[in-house]
C-alpha cells in the first residue's frame, strides 16, 4: 500500500529522516514511535506530500506519488492531526463532509454519510449534526476528527498523535473505539505516537525511530521479547519487559508516618493529629519495623503508660516489598486490614500500602501507568 525507498528529508543541516526504507501492506496498522524530533511527523507528511522528500521515492498504491497531483492524492488519503483541526466555522456535519464536498458529492449524500459515521461511534446524528465544534467536549471533537478522515472511505489513513491531547480516560476510550472500528473497516493506517502503551495496544507492527532512522520494526510481541538494543529496551520500559506482576514496591506509599518507641504519648497523639492518620508505625533507630500504635490505644492507655514503645502492637502484619501487589491487596481485603506496612528483606520499614492507594494503583494499572505509588 505504501512503500518508502531510500527516503531522506533534510532541513538545512538537520536530517529529519535518513534513508528510510519501509513497506506497509494493505490493511496493516503500523505505528511510528520514537522520542520527539525523531522524524515521525516528517515521515507521515511525506505520504500525502505536505512535505516532499529531499531524495528517494514513495509509492502509494503502486504509484510514485511524485507523479501525482498532491491535491487529488490528499483527497484519497485520510488525515487526522493532534490539534483536532475541526473548522470552527462549520457544523459537525459540514466538518465530516469536507472531503466529500471537495470530491463534489451532493449535500444529501454527504449528510447521510455523516449521520452514518456518527451513529458508528455512538453519537446521535439528530443531536450533533448541526452543532459546532466548540459545543463538543475534547473527546467528541477528536472522534469527529477521526470520522472526518473516514468520510470519503479512503483506503489509507494517516494519523499524527490523534489522541495525544486527551485526558487518560478519554484517550483509552477512543483507543478502544478506534481499535474496534479498525476491525470492521480494514483500513491501512499509519499512526504516529510517542506513547508506547498506545502503540502496543493498537499496532499490528511498531516502527521505532530515533534521529530519523528506524531502530526496530517488529510486531508488539517480538518487540517485547527481543528489543533490538538498549534504546528500544529503555523505550519499552522495564516493567513491560520483565512481564512480571506488579510488585508491592511499585504501588506502596513511600513515607509512612513513623515514630521511635521512646516518643511520649502526648507527642504521638499530636503527630497523628498533624498528619491526619489513625496509626503511627514504630521503628527502632536503625529503621527496623517494630509494630504499630493506633490512636485508640493511645487514648485508652495514656494514663498508665508514658511512651509509644510500651503499648506498641508487635503483631501488626507486614508484607515484603518484593511480594506481588495482588497479595497485598488480597490480604487487605480478606483480613480487613486498614493498611499493610511494607518491609524490605532486612526487616526495615520502607513504605505502606493503604486501602486508598490500592484503589489508585488499580486505576493507574487500568490507564497503563504503573507509577501507582505517586
Amino acid at each position: 500500500m505504501v512503500k518508502f525507498s531510500h527516503v531522506t528529508r533534510k532541513y538545512g543541516n538537520t536530517v529529519a529522516v535518513k534513508d528510510l526504507n519501509l513497506k506497509i501492506a494493505g490493511n496493516e496498522f503500523v505505528v511510528l514511535i520514537g522520542p520527539s524530533g525523531c522524524g515521525k511527523t516528517t515521515t507521515l507528511k511525506m505520504v500525502n506530500r505536505l512535505i516532499n522528500p529531499t531524495s528517494g521515492t514513495i509509492e502509494v498504491m503502486g504509484k510514485n506519488i511524485q507523479d501525482l497531483n498532491p491535491v487529488t492524492l490528499r483527497r484519497e488519503i485520510g488525515y487526522v492531526i493532534q490539534q483536532v483541526g475541526l473548522f470552527p466555522n462549520m457544523t459537525i456535519a459540514e466538518n465530516i463532509g469536507v472531503v466529500p464536498h471537495l470530491l463534489g458529492w451532493d449535500k444529501n449524500k454527504s449528510r447521510k454519510r455523516a449521520a452514518a459515521l456518527l451513529t458508528m461511534v455512538g453519537m446521535d446524528p439528530e443531536t450533533y449534526m448541526d452543532r459546532y465544534p466548540t459545543e463538543l467536549s475534547g473527546g467528541q471533537q477528536q472522534r469527529i476528527g477521526v470520522l472526518r478522515a473516514l468520510a470519503a472511505d479512503p483506503p489509507l489513513i494517516l494519523m499524527d498523535e490523534p489522541f495525544g491531547a486527551l485526558d487518560p480516560i478519554t484517550r483509552e476510550t477512543l483507543q478502544d473505539e478506534f481499535k474496534r472500528l479498525q476491525t470492521e473497516l480494514h483500513k491501512t493506517i499509519i499512526f504516529v505516537t510517542h506513547d508506547i502503551d498506545e502503540a502496543l495496544k493498537l499496532a499490528d507492527r511498531i516502527v521505532i525511530m530515533r534521529a530519523g532512522e528506524v531502530v526496530q520494526d517488529a510486531t508488539p510481541e517480538e518487540l517485547l521479547r527481543h528489543p533490538a538494543d538498549d534504546f528500544v529496551a529503555a523505550f519499552l520500559g522495564k516493567d513491560r519487559l520483565s512481564n512480571q506482576e506488579l510488585q508491592v514496591a511499585q504501588v506502596m506509599l513511600e513515607n509512612p508516618v513513623k515514630a521511635y518507641p521512646e516518643m511520649g504519648m502526648a507527642e504521638g497523639l499530636a503527630l497523628m493529629k498533624r498528619k491526619k492518620v489513625d496509626t503511627v508505625l514504630i521503628t527502632d533507630h536503625g529503621g527496623r519495623f517494630l509494630g504499630s500504635v493506633s490512636v485508640d490505644e493511645v487514648n485508652a492507655k495514656h494514663r498508665s503508660f508514658n511512651t509509644l514503645g510500651e503499648i506498641v502492637d508487635q503483631d501488626t502484619p507486614a508484607i515484603e516489598k518484593t511480594a506481588a501487589a495482588k497479595d497485598a491487596f488480597n490480604r487487605i481485603n480478606e483480613e480487613k486490614l486498614p493498611y499493610l506496612p511494607v518491609i524490605d528483606e532486612k526487616g526495615l520499614l520502607v513504605g505502606i500500602v493503604t486501602r486508598n492507594n490500592m484503589v489508585n494503583a488499580l486505576a493507574s494499572v487500568v490507564w497503563g501507568d504503573h507509577n501507582g505509588s505517586s
Binding site: 490528499r74 492531526i81 473548522f87 470552527p88 469536507v98 467528541q140
Partner: protein, 212 residues
C-alpha cells in the same frame, strides 16, 4: 430640512463609494500579501504613510493634480480606507490557526479553497472591523470635501462657521454637524451589528453551552 436629508445622503454616498473602492483594492491586496510576506511590510507601510497625511493636505494635493469635485474627494477617501482594510485583512488571515490551514491542505483543499472555506470565514469579523473603521474615517474626512468643491454635509458646516456671528450661521453649522455626527454613530452601530450577524456561528458559541 429636505436639503439636510439630501446632503446627508450625499455624504453617506460619497463615503461609501470611497470605502467600496477601498474594499475592491484593499481586500485583494491584503490577501495577496499573506502569500508574499516580504511585500507585507512594504504594503502596510505605504498605506500607513498615506494615513498620516493630514486630510486637508491630502485634499489640497489631490486637487492640484485632479482638480475640484466629488471624484477627487472619493479618491482621498479611498486612499484613507486602504490602511484599515489592508491591515485587518492581512492580520485576520494570518491569525487563522496554522493547524486549521494544514488540516485543510492535508485533506486536499487547494490554496483557493483553504482561503474560501477556512481563512476568509474565520477572518471575516476582523475584516469587517477594518471596513467599519474605514467608513467612520471617511465620514469624518468627507466633511472637509466641500473645500475642494465636493458635496455632503461639509458645505453647511463651513458656511455656518463663516457666518458664526449670526444666528443663521450657528443654525447652519448645527444643521451640518449634528447629522454628520449622527451618521457616523449610526454607521458604527449598524456595522457592528452586521459584524455580529456575519460572524460564523461556531465562533460565537459561548463555552458555557459546551456539553459532554
Amino acid at each position: 430640512m429636505e436639503k439636510i436629508i439630501l446632503l446627508t445622503l450625499e455624504h453617506l454616498g460619497l463615503s461609501t463609494i470611497g470605502v467600496l473602492f477601498g474594499i475592491a483594492v484593499g481586500l485583494p491586496l491584503g490577501i495577496m500579501i499573506t502569500r508574499r510576506r516580504k511585500l507585507a511590510g512594504l504594503v502596510v507601510g505605504t498605506t500607513e504613510m498615506l494615513q498620516t497625511i493630514p486630510s486637508l493636505a491630502m485634499l489640497a494635493l489631490l486637487m492640484m493634480w485632479l482638480g475640484l469635485g466629488n471624484s477627487t474627494l472619493i479618491i482621498a477617501l479611498f486612499l484613507y480606507s486602504l490602511l484599515p482594510i489592508v491591515r485587518n485583512t492581512y492580520t485576520g488571515l494570518v491569525n487563522v490557526d496554522t493547524g486549521l490551514i494544514e488540516a485543510g491542505r492535508g485533506m486536499g483543499m487547494t490554496r483557493l479553497q483553504v482561503l474560501r472555506l477556512v481563512q476568509l470565514p474565520l477572518a471575516l469579523p476582523v475584516i469587517l472591523a477594518g471596513i467599519r473603521v474605514a467608513l467612520i474615517t471617511a465620514i469624518g474626512v468627507a466633511t472637509i470635501g466641500t473645500l475642494i468643491g465636493a458635496g455632503g454635509l461639509g458645505e453647511l458646516i463651513w458656511l455656518g462657521m463663516k457666518n458664526i456671528e449670526t444666528s443663521k450661521g450657528v443654525n447652519m453649522l448645527f444643521s451640518g454637524a449634528i447629522p454628520a455626527a449622527l451618521l457616523a454613530i449610526a454607521c458604527e452601530l449598524g456595522l457592528e451589528r452586521l459584524e455580529k450577524a456575519l460572524t460564523p456561528r461556531g465562533l460565537r458559541v459561548s463555552p458555557e453551552s459546551m456539553k459532554n
